[in-house]
Symmetry: C2
Subunit: 348 residues, 2 copies
């Protein structure tokens, strides 16, 4: 990829949900070693972390989180600990990949540089106003298909890049139980902008974003009562993605999905059955999606910060009466906004 | 593909813009031979057609077109002649592929059965209300990603399937001139539903649709003054696709894009320079897209026929004053509606 990436503009943020990160870091070494890495240790995990040497890396633990947050009601345990890394980063861009994911191989058998691909997604324009049938028009060998309005060919800035995963899928507990042995083997060689107004389930497995701009909208808001340590019983990232998409749509920014893939190994997915009975995620999305689809933020909200504040208010008013977890989500969003102003906003 | 396709439910419609179709039909024989084929000869072309034997095939010529249409103002010359085939078909589904396209090969080197893929697209549900990050959830090995609302997992009926092309791109004349040697070599192994409200440039190169339902919306409406025999100087299919997408969105139907690919060889694309000076397509799309994006058809329009009638009226009122070609497009849409009732509606 001919695109130039400065070491000083990217932080890699890793949420450590397992103590032994040796395999993870050795596999990613060729792609991560030139960047600063923020490791946030799940505050519920007691064991010491095992991380190989040779990285520019800082580990944040429960005491760091408590030191910054004080009496915050935001829960940073489990996968949500990565958001603390977003807060303490001082870089323009953040890339975050789950600790059970390794580099994938493309269709030619070459190992994918997920960092370079995420940065290409963020540094080339997005095209949310008209769908290009041959996908990302800025990719080498591609262009705008006949009929694409010329006035839209400059595109807009891309703020969020959602990568995908091979092998172990990202399913809810029900689908995990029903499709226990299903694996994703299809490598779809495409990046595309998710059109204006279209909502998508952003998975936290493999994401990157422009922290300078979008940071105030990258929070752990919605938390299911019994949310644990597994992607399959969380909705924190899904909720966050919907909020970020609505904010990007409102401010004229783009969100891309597709490449890069990572290779995901979720050894514990078989345990999804255990959380099935109490999983609140089923009905919640049927309330959440119509809410986001009909949402219009006001034109006076001209920054991400403004938008999040307004969004929190609408969540409290419209969704709060349906379920207490939405009121808690609104609280967390307001609190994140304050945290960001106090701790997250400064750049290096 | 395990999907069952009845010979009796599909017509293949081919617009013959060149006399010698030998290579075309021999290449497609394995996939076309079990179906009825409608060949519509460009009414401007004088030469006799050369078509190999062994197909269940009917050729329609200028005299057939004149016989059915009488004093119609719709211009069926050039690529627009394929729409006459849509009108005289009596099948539930129509598949139409340009006569300069041959079967493509997939990433494994296997020849793609474009008929089977289009039918799979049309016969499995579409998901316009939420974007599935792992693409078509009904595909083998795929499913709905975590966070996809359960109430939306049944999907809706897919009415239009837009296939893609390898090798020679589908560019406007300007891009053809600038990127004379660029070829599409990326095979993106995915089918996706274009989200509700998102517009796309539907190319007529490689399409399929549910004729029973969508037929009244599959017309040659917009015609540039100097429209010729080349995709690069037409907008007929782009306009048609925008109309069809708006109608599908309004009635709760789906539109898919992606697979199947065909291999496209546009030997004459180098001549795009000649039509550059007079090409009206540049400015027109900058009027057309905002029009379609802000369009809302009324809830009382409950059939495709109703929607087209209403759409023609709005085109005449809002776009007509900007350019006479829009008034002509509205005329053609009304006329198509009448033609469809008189000649197109009956099923076999």
């Amino acid at each position: 990829m001919p695109l130039e990436i400065q070491d000083s503009e990217v932080d890699i943020v890793i949420a450590a949900l397992q103590p032994n990160l040796t395999t993870f870091f050795e596999a990613w070494r060729p792609f991560f070693s030139r960047f600063h890495i923020i490791v946030v240790k799940d505050p519920d995990m007691a064991e010491d972390l095992q991380i190989p040497t040779g990285f520019d890396l800082k580990v944040y633990t429960k005491s760091d989180i408590n030191g910054v947050l004080g009496s915050s009601s935001i829960n940073f345990s489990g996968h949500s600990c990565r958001y603390f890394g977003y807060l303490v980063s001082r870089k323009k861009y953040v890339i975050s990949i789950d600790d059970n994911c390794l580099p994938a191989k493309d269709t030619a058998g070459l190992t994918v540089d997920a960092v370079a691909q995420h940065m290409a997604n963020l540094k080339t324009p997005a095209t949310p106003f008209f769908f290009n049938t041959l996908y990302d028009p800025y990719r080498k060998g591609a262009d705008f298909v006949r009929g694409y309005p010329f006035s839209l060919r400059e595109g807009v800035e891309c703020m969020l890049s959602c990568g995908l995963w091979m092998h172990n899928a990202d399913y809810d507990p029900m689908t995990h139980v029903v499709k226990r042995n299903q694996r994703n083997t299809t490598y779809v060689d495409a990046v595309m902008t998710v059109p204006l107004g279209a909502m998508l389930p952003v998975s936290g497995i493999n994401v990157a974003f422009n922290r300078d701009v979008l940071g105030p909208a990258m929070f752990p808001g919605l938390r299911l009562r019994k949310e644990g340590k597994h992607r399959w019983d969380t909705l924190e990232d899904i909720w966050n993605g919907l909020c970020a998409k609505v904010v990007c749509d409102s401010l004229g920014y783009g969100v891309k999905t597709g490449l890069p893939y990572v290779m995901r190994s979720d050894a514990e997915a078989g345990k999804a059955l255990e959380s099935l009975k109490d999983w609140e995620g089923v009905k919640i999305m049927d309330d959440v999606l119509p809410f986001f689809q009909s949402l219009k933020l006001s034109r006076t909200a001209v920054t991400v910060d403004d938008c999040v504040k307004e969004l929190a208010g609408i969540v409290r008013e419209k969704l709060g009466p349906k379920n207490a977890i939405f009121t808690k989500a609104a609280d967390a969003m307001v609190e994140w906004n304050n945290l960001w102003k106090a701790h997250g906003a400064q750049n290096a």
